[in-house]
Amino acid sequence: MKILVTAKRVEDPESKIKVKPDGTGIVTEGMKYKINPFDEIAVEEGLRLIAKHQGELVVASIGGKEVQEQLRHALAMGASKAVWINHAGALDQMAIAALLQKVVEREKPDLVILGKQSIDDDQNQVGQYLAEMLGWGQATFASKAESFESEAEKNKVPALALGADGKSVRVVREVDGGLATVECQLPAVVTTDLRLNMPRYASLMGIQKAKTKPMEELAPAALGVDVAPKLTIVKVSSPPGRKAGIKVPDVATLVDKLKNEAKVI
């Protein structure tokens, strides 16, 4: 089978995000970047499926030259080919989905796996837009019933289960109040939640191999996609700061404050 996964470049989740004083964006000096953690889970799941069912894993990313770093990371984890959509400006989720639709039409994967959201925009939309644009089934927030301590996880068994005929995929979804299982006919779009798997580290050999793996470059204009954003940011600001807290000497004082000052108990 052929699987397409995404690898968005985002700020390191461990880094401190600060808003620029003029409200036009965030401070990027000295920022470290990583593959979106949810996309990394998508890459891992794709690799496990390929290991079990044979096939090819293609990874796509959109951005300036710097996103090659995240594509190489996915290649080092084990993807066989990268597609780089070279576009430097701001994009909204509709445009991202429209670009991915073109990649899907060129690559013709049986399954597209994306992170449920990227940790910068936090929109949680692209997979759903893409599924509708393609007219495919969707299974968002893919999760796994077993714990990360399970034998299945240690053996890197895929959580997404292909049907016996290889024409469908069964997905356990993390929803409010429980787990919902759905079965999608292939081709389908799946988005990953945090509990789907624990991504592998890229091995040294993987990193070496990634340097010579193919990376195709595409441009939005050549794909015929209008990427002018329909969602525009008017301004960004920091969330309201918290007033300086106090240290209380003992439990009695704490309970008194909670009851009479904060009035939360």
């Binding site: 995000i17 909204d92 409010d176 329909k230 008017v234 807290g245 439990v251 704490l254 108990i265």
Partner: protein, 321 residues
């Protein structure tokens, strides 16, 4: 008159999901700013009772679509129906609470309506056609005011930012029969309720979270949570260590919570974690290390061993209530 259409949500047990009432309040706020009328739509196997309930909470019209095809929620069956209704009404805004269903459904509806979308909206500003949507980015470390430049605009709202719409309205219920639902490529298999006597982490009024300081022993965390009727949360470190299930994780890559009271015990306060709970109304931190960064965001800090403090706190709260 422009129309704001809110999609209601029915729980697997048939009851109205509470977050829908918050979404209706948000819809009313948007309708007021946009000079629009509030409508709601409910889809399910039988939504007659649900529609009767909904009409009391603000919408002028509740569109009720009862059909066997809607027994189990699936984006592929719900999205065409909602989009069809939005089109026939000429709705300008389509939204829902940002629950698992809202997040799954609304972008798919938006794609059908060629609508741009804002997720997790906390506030609406502006007026008329220039309404803006305020929403969190980078796990709430950044608040963005955005504009949507498409004729139809889609959104989900963060339920905790809006008080539930009160009862007392008198809307009208209209039956709505969408064109034959396409047989989607996706089939519902089963729903397994994760039984917990405790409230949902993202909906709870009080959250008690444990970190590395618990060394994996959550007994005191759970006992305090149960005393307060609270949800239990955890830092990434304890989830990664396999001490508690990952779905308890509060943080940038876990759940983002904003309860009235957040109690962090044995949590140092990594940026990752703070991003997931900074929006809480009152934060209490209990930590052995007086220099722990968690104290910088806590309203009330108590330096001490959580295994001594938590049982005392539980007894004192019990006595104080």
């Amino acid at each position: 008159m422009p129309i704001v259409l809110i999609v209601a949500e029915q729980q697997p047990d048939g009851a109205l999901r509470k977050a829908t009432l918050n979404a209706l309040a948000a819809g009313a706020q948007l309708a007021q700013k946009a000079g629009a009328e509030l409508h709601a739509v409910a889809l399910g196997k039988d939504v007659a009772a649900l529609a009767e309930q909904l009409k009391q909470h603000g919408p002028k019209v509740v569109h009720a679509a009862s059909a066997p095809a809607f027994e189990h929620y699936l984006a592929e069956t719900f999205a065409p129906a909602v989009a069809e209704l939005a089109q026939s009404l000429g709705a300008d805004y389509v939204g829902a609470a940002s629950t698992a269903m809202g997040k799954d459904l609304i972008p798919r509806v938006a794609a059908r309506l060629k609508a741009a979308m804002a997720s997790d909206v906390m506030k609406f500003d502006g007026s008329g056609a220039d309404v803006t949507f305020t929403r969190p980015m980078w796990a709430g470390n950044v608040i963005a005011e955005v504009k949507l430049g498409t004729p139809v605009k889609a959104f989900t709202v963060r339920a905790t930012e809006f008080q539930p719409a009160p009862a007392g309205g008198a809307g009208e219920v209209r039956a709505f029969a969408p064109a034959a639902a396409p047989s989607g490529a996706t089939r519902f298999v089963e729903f397994k309720e994760v039984k917990s006597a405790r409230p949902e982490l993202t909906e709870a009024r009080v959250v008690v979270s444990g970190g590395r300081g618990t060394k994996g022993d959550f007994k005191e965390i759970e006992a305090l949570a149960d005393e307060l009727g609270a949800a239990v949360g955890a830092s990434r470190a304890v989830c990664d260590a396999g001490w508690v299930p990952n779905d308890l994780q509060v943080g940038q890559t876990g759940k983002v919570v904003a309860p009235q009271l957040y109690i962090a015990a044995g949590i140092s306060g990594a940026i990752q974690h703070l991003a997931g709970m900074k929006g809480s109304k009152t934060i209490v931190a209990i930590n052995k290390d007086p220099e722990a960064p968690i104290f910088q965001v806590a309203d009330y800090g108590l330096v001490g061993d959580l295994f001594k403090v938590l049982p005392e706190l539980r007894a004192a709260i019990k006595a104080a209530r």
